[in-house]
Structures are given as C-alpha cells and as structure tokens.
C-alpha cells in the first residue's frame, strides 16, 4: 500500500487541480479574515464554505480519479501486489493530496493573521479537522460509487446526487419530519438522524467548539443539552472517525470481490 500511496500522491500533488484548490482556499480565507476582522465570525463563514465545498470537491475528484486511472489500475492489478494495497493506496493518495491543498490554503492565511496564541486557535483547528475528515469521507464514498458502477456517467450522476442529498436535501427532509411529527418527543430521533449525515455532524462539531448557541440550531441545541459540550464533542468526533473508517474498509471489501 505504501508504494502505491507514495506514487499516487507524487502524481497528484503535481496536478494543476491541487494548485487551483489551494489558491481558492487561500484567497477566500484571506479575504474573509480581513473583511470580517473578527476571528470567530470569519471561522463561521469559512465553516459554511468548508461544509459545502470539501464534500463536493472530494466526491467529484474521487469519482474522476478512479475513472481516469482505470486503465493504469489494470496494469497495477497484474503486478505482484494485493488488491487492497492498490485501492487503499490510491484512495489515501488522493485524500492526502486534497487535504494538503486544503490545510495549506486555510492554514497559511491564518498563520499570517496571527491565529497562534489567539483564543480561537482551537476553533480554527476544529475547522481544519472537519475539512480533512469530510475530504476523506467523501472521497471514500465516491470511490465506493465508482467501484460499483462501470458506467462513468451513471457513477458521476450518483455521486452528485449523494452530495446534493447530504448537503442540501437531508436538512430539508429533517425539518419537514420535525414539523410533521411535532406532537411527539423528537429528541432521540433527531440525535440519531444527525449521526447519519457527516456534514451535519461536522457542522455541530464546529458549533460546539465555537460555543455560539444562537447558531447551534435545534439539533445542535439538543446535542448540547443531551451530552454537554465536551462529551458532545467526543461523541461527534468519534462518529466522524467512524464515517472515515467505514468507507475505507468497504473499499477494501468491494475491490476484493470485483472483476476488472
């Protein structure tokens, strides 16, 4: 796995998309920092970008990278290495290269702004963690979709719908169901619902850290009430980690049984 990871990463960090992604985050972080002139407000604005964009770019790049390297993967499959190492190596290579662009793109402006030593350092680190986690999660999910679909157009379609569902539709459905069942106690139901959407999970994680109750929303408030801030953060973090691990295991599992 190490070798495939090494070469995938080496290939990808020289791709122009890595630079575009890096520059995008660097520019938006810099402008938000200097325009809002308040760290925690800038972090909230950035959070909204991260929560939408990291999953979208992860999904798109995941599907695209799999289909683009399809033929080279066949060459690799004919080499004396295990399938696991090929697919997990490629997945990690892509996830790490996008994460590097993201972390540098957001981190460098923050360093210049003087984030170290400021009271919001931990919030900023939470935001970075959330962005990296979402990148890993959605690349993993995209890889599963691509492995399951030989047809590129179909694969792309499903991937886009997945993103749309998680980022937009899920919340709408959730609100509708709260509205429809308002006569019933919904605390536990909403807690469960949140754990099944990594984007919501990550939003709550940042909100809990920032401790802005006005922005927590209904579910965040329940989460906070139910677990308290620190236990809530531990649970949200471990759920996010599970969201990273489960797709990764699935990639290994699916690739083992697939014909190429």
């Amino acid at each position: 796995m190490g070798k495939i990871f090494k070469y995938s990463l080496y290939d990808l960090i020289r791709s122009r998309w890595s630079y575009i992604y890096f520059i995008f985050f660097a520019v938006s972080t810099t402008s938000l920092l200097y325009l809002s002139s308040d760290l925690s407000r800038a972090i909230v604005s950035l959070m909204n970008i991260v929560l939408l964009l990291c999953p979208l770019i992860g999904t798109m790049f995941g599907v695209m990278y799999y289909y683009n390297s399809r033929e080279f993967t066949e060459l690799l499959l004919a080499q004396p290495i295990k399938r696991n190492s090929i697919f997990l190596g490629q997945y990690l290579g892509l996830a790490v290269s996008l994460s590097i662009s993201f972390v540098l793109g957001m981190g460098i402006p923050f360093l210049f702004y003087g984030a170290i030593g400021s009271s919001e350092l931990l919030s900023f680190l939470t935001l970075i963690f959330v962005g990296v986690a979402l990148t890993f999660i959605f690349i993993g999910l995209a890889y599963i979709i691509a492995l399951k679909n030989e047809n590129r157009i179909k694969g792309f379609g499903i991937a886009i719908v997945l993103w749309l569902f998680m980022a937009v539709i899920y919340d709408g459905l959730f609100l509708l169901s709260l509205f429809a069942f308002e006569d019933y106690p919904l605390d536990k139901f909403s807690l469960g619902v949140i754990l099944f959407n990594p984007i919501d999970l990550c939003r709550i994680l940042v909100m809990l850290k920032l401790d802005i109750s006005a922005l927590l929303g209904y579910t965040g408030a329940i989460f906070n009430k139910f677990f308290g801030t620190s236990l809530g953060m531990i649970i949200a973090t471990s759920c996010a980690m599970a969201w990273v691990a489960i797709p990764a295991f699935s990639i290994a599992w699916i690739s083992k049984k697939k014909d190429f």
């Binding site: 070469y7 390297s69 066949e74 014909d259």
Partner: protein, 244 residues
C-alpha cells in the same frame, strides 16, 4: 507451465466461459483468437487474477493462483490500453513499476529499440498514443520472466516500431519463453505464432499449429480459415434451431 481446468465465468446472464481447458506446457508463441465476445480477454484476465472465475482452476507452475498475488512476479503483462498517471515523467513511471514489482528491469536496450530517449523527461499526459504504447511495451518487456502476456500489442504503432516489436517477440521466444498474444491483426499471427488457440462461444474450438488449421479448413490464409469456421458454426446453429 500454465494449466487451465474447466474455467467458467459469467457476467450477469452472459455466460462467457463455459468450461475452458487449456494447457500450455512448452515455450513458444500462442495466439489466442476468436470473434468479439468469445472470451479471449476474460481468459487472460483470469490468468492474471483480475477476473475471478465462477468455477474451475488455474495453475501456474503447478500452483493454484486462487487468492495469490505473488505468482504474478513470473508474468509480464501488456495491457490493451496504455494510460498512465498523467503527471509522472516517463522515467519516473519506469522506476515506479520496477519499485512496485520489486524486480530489476533492463529498460535501456528497449528505450533504444523504440527510440524513447527524447521522451524520458516528458510528462505522460503530453505523449501521443503511439508513444504511450511504446512506453507500455518497455514496462512489459524490461523484466526477464518466462511468461509474457500481450493484449493487442500492435495498437497505434508505426511500421518501424511494429517491425521492431515483432523482432523483439521472436527473440524472446528464442530465449525459451512462453508468450501469449491476443490480436486482431492476422499478419502478426501468421508471422509469429507457433500455436493457435481458437475460442468460440466460451469454449476452445481448436488448438494446434497454423498448418493444422489450414488443413482442417482447406484454406491458405488465416483470415479465410477463421471466416470458414465461423460460417460453419453458424450453419450448424441454424440447423439445430430448425431441428428444434
């Protein structure tokens, strides 16, 4: 060397291999031929472990390949489509494949044969299809293993490269290697192949020398004898359908 026992494989409802038996025990050039969809690529991919058979067994040097990956050290493979990581340079790709295989390769003479010297420092995304195929050939032939599998090796090559490739394949045979080729270019087969393996509807229809094939079909050109086999088969099927 390679032994295939009752190999079966279906993709959904499509039964591609219906119990293929094939034994390749001597060195030489084996051309796997057959109409589109007859299972050529599926057999090759099964030998390489890319397609997982539904039934049957494949032995390489008397050892079953089921669940193994190390046996692929003994096989050099040329995939049909030459596409590589776009941002790597040619020399980096060569180094990468050697590193992954954990084998020493001799690429120098091959780079000379296919005149790739000027491209070594170029990124792969900037190469033409023919040049990429030459890189593909280098990656396959630079290792010195006794089984070589070539899937459509002539795609996109100019006449000079084609001649050099044929010379290369013959010289590898003279070293006592076993070479399995699939191709649609009949000239290549007529010029090189020692044994023809003809697949039809998921089974091996014929295995023998070119001469035997000409004798059976009463023809002197490979193209025509294949056409004759296919035609006969079609007539047989129609007859069977009528009888039913």
């Amino acid at each position: 060397m390679i032994k295939v026992n009752q190999l079966k494989k279906s993709f959904g409802k499509n039964e591609v291999l219906k119990g293929v038996d094939l034994e390749i025990s001597e060195p030489g050039i084996f051309a796997v031929l057959g109409p589109n969809g007859s299972g050529k690529t599926t057999i090759i991919k099964s030998i390489l472990g890319m397609v997982l058979p539904d039934g049957g067994d494949i032995l390489i040097h008397n050892r079953s390949i089921k669940g193994e990956s190390d046996y692929r050290k003994q096989i050099d493979y040329l995939p049909q489509i030459a596409r590589f990581p776009e941002n790597l340079k040619v020399e980096e790709l060569i180094r990468m494949v050697k590193d992954i295989r954990g084998q020493e390769g001799d690429e120098k003479s091959l780079i000379e044969i296919f005149e790739l010297e000027p491209f070594l420092k170029r990124r792969l995304r900037n190469l033409s299809g023919g040049t990429r195929q030459k890189v593909n050939l280098v990656l396959c032939f630079m290792f010195d293993n006794d089984i070589i599998i070539l899937d459509e090796p002539t795609v996109g090559l100019d006449p000079i490269a084609l001649i050099r490739l044929k010379e290369l394949i013959s010289s590898e045979r003279d070293k006592g290697k076993t070479i399995i080729i699939t191709t649609h270019i009949m000239d290549v087969v007529e010029e090189l192949a020692d044994t023809i393996v003809f697949l039809l509807e998921g089974k091996i229809y014929f295995k023998g020398s070119l001469k035997d094939m000409y004798e059976i079909t009463n023809e002197v050109k490979l193209e025509r004898s294949i056409a004759k086999i296919l035609q006969k088969n079609k007539e047989k099927q129609t007859l069977e359908n009528v009888a039913l």
